[in-house]
Symmetry: C2
Subunit: 189 residues, 2 copies
C-alpha cells in the first residue's frame, strides 16, 4: 500500500544512493528517464540535487514546468530502468513503449510510476548559472510516498530481492540494495 | 593490491551511490568524516558534488586547502564509518582514536584511508555562493585508485560481504552493496 512519508523523513529515501526514474511533464507531454547522479541536499525543508543533461527531453520539460518527480525503481524494474535511460522521449512515449503505468502527483503536475518503492515530488529551486554550467538542478521535496511493504515508520524494511531498490553500475547492470549491516542489525538481533 | 583507475572510469566508483569517508588536511592537521550526500557530477574531466556541512572541521580544512579525498569504506568498516561520522575532529584525532591507518594522496596533500575499496583525490572547483547557500562543494577528480580485489578493468567485482561497499540508511545502519542484477548478470551467465 502506498503511504505518505513525512517530509522530515524524505531524505531517508535517498540516503542509500539508489538510482531513480526522473519523471516530468509540461504542456500535456510527459517523459521518464533514468538517473544515478541524484542525492539529498538538505533535511528541512528537504531538498535534492540531480544532474539532468542538456539536450535531453526531460531537461526541456523540467525547465518549462519547474517540477519533476524521483521514482525509486525496484530490482523487478531494472530492465525497464535501463531501457528508459537509453532512448529519448522526444521520439516516443516511453511510458507506452515500456508498459509503465502511472498515477498523478499530489502536489506537482507530474506522473509517478506505479510499481516503484518510493516517490519524491520535487519543485525546482532555480539556480540558472549552476544549471547551465553543471547540468545540475536543485529542488525542494514537496511530497513523498513509499510502498509500505518496503518502507514504513521512517525505515526501509526490504525483504525479497525483486522488491529492493537498485544502484546503477554501468551499461544496464545494477546492484540490488543488499543486506543491512552495522548497528541497526545489532539492535534488531 | 591498489591499482590506479583511469580518470575516464572514475565516476564508475560512485555511480552506485556508496557512502564515503571524506578525508582532508590543512596546515599539518588532518581529519576524516562520513558522508552519504556525495555523487558524480561529470565524466570528463570527472567531477563530484559533496555536501560538507558548515561548522564541521572537515569544512574548515577543505576551505583552507582546496582539496579532499573520497574513500569508499567496506562492510568491515561500517562501525568505524559511523563512529567518525558521530564525533568532531576538532576535539580529537579520529585516525588515532579509531585506528585508521593512511597513505598519502598522489596528487593532493590529503591522507587516504587504508582498507577502503576505492579512493578519489579531488581538487575543489570554487563555487562560493553555492557553498554558502547549500553547503555543497564541487570538485574535480585528479586521481583515482581501487583495490583490485573488488574493482578491476573498469568494473566492480564484489565477492565476500566484508569487502563490499556500504550505503548509509540512518543511525549507524548501512546496506551492503548487494548482488548484481540486470543485463550484466545475463551477459555473465
Amino acid at each position: 500500500m502506498r503511504i505518505q512519508v513525512p517530509l522530515r523523513h524524505a531524505t531517508r529515501l535517498l540516503n542509500h544512493g539508489p538510482t531513480v526514474l526522473v519523471t516530468s511533464k509540461a504542456e500535456g507531454r510527459a517523459n521518464v528517464m533514468a538517473a544515478a547522479w541524484v542525492m539529498a541536499l538538505d533535511f528541512d525543508p528537504p531538498k535534492v540535487a540531480a544532474v539532468i543533461a542538456e539536450g535531453t527531453y526531460t531537461r526541456e520539460l523540467v525547465e518549462r514546468s519547474g517540477a519533476f518527480a524521483l521514482n525509486l525503481p525496484t530490482v523487478a524494474m531494472a530492465g525497464v530502468t535501463h531501457a528508459v535511460g537509453s532512448a529519448s522521449g522526444r521520439e516516443e512515449d516511453k511510458f507506452a513503449r515500456h508498459g509503465l503505468a502511472t498515477f498523478p502527483g499530489s502536489t506537482v503536475d507530474v506522473p509517478l510510476v506505479l510499481g516503484c518503492a518510493a516517490w519524491l515530488e520535487c519543485r525546482v529551486v532555480p539556480e540558472p548559472s549552476i544549471r547551465e554550467r553543471y547540468d545540475l538542478f536543485f529542488a525542494e521535496v514537496v511530497a513523498a510516498w513509499a510502498d509500505d511493504a518496503v518502507f514504513s515508520a521512517g525505515r526501509w524494511r526490504f525483504g525479497d530481492l525483486a522488491t529492493r531498490t537498485i544502484h546503477h553500475v554501468a551499461g544496464g547492470a545494477f546492484f540490488a540494495t543488499g543486506e543491512i549491516v552495522g548497528s541497526e542489525r545489532r539492535r534488531d538481533a
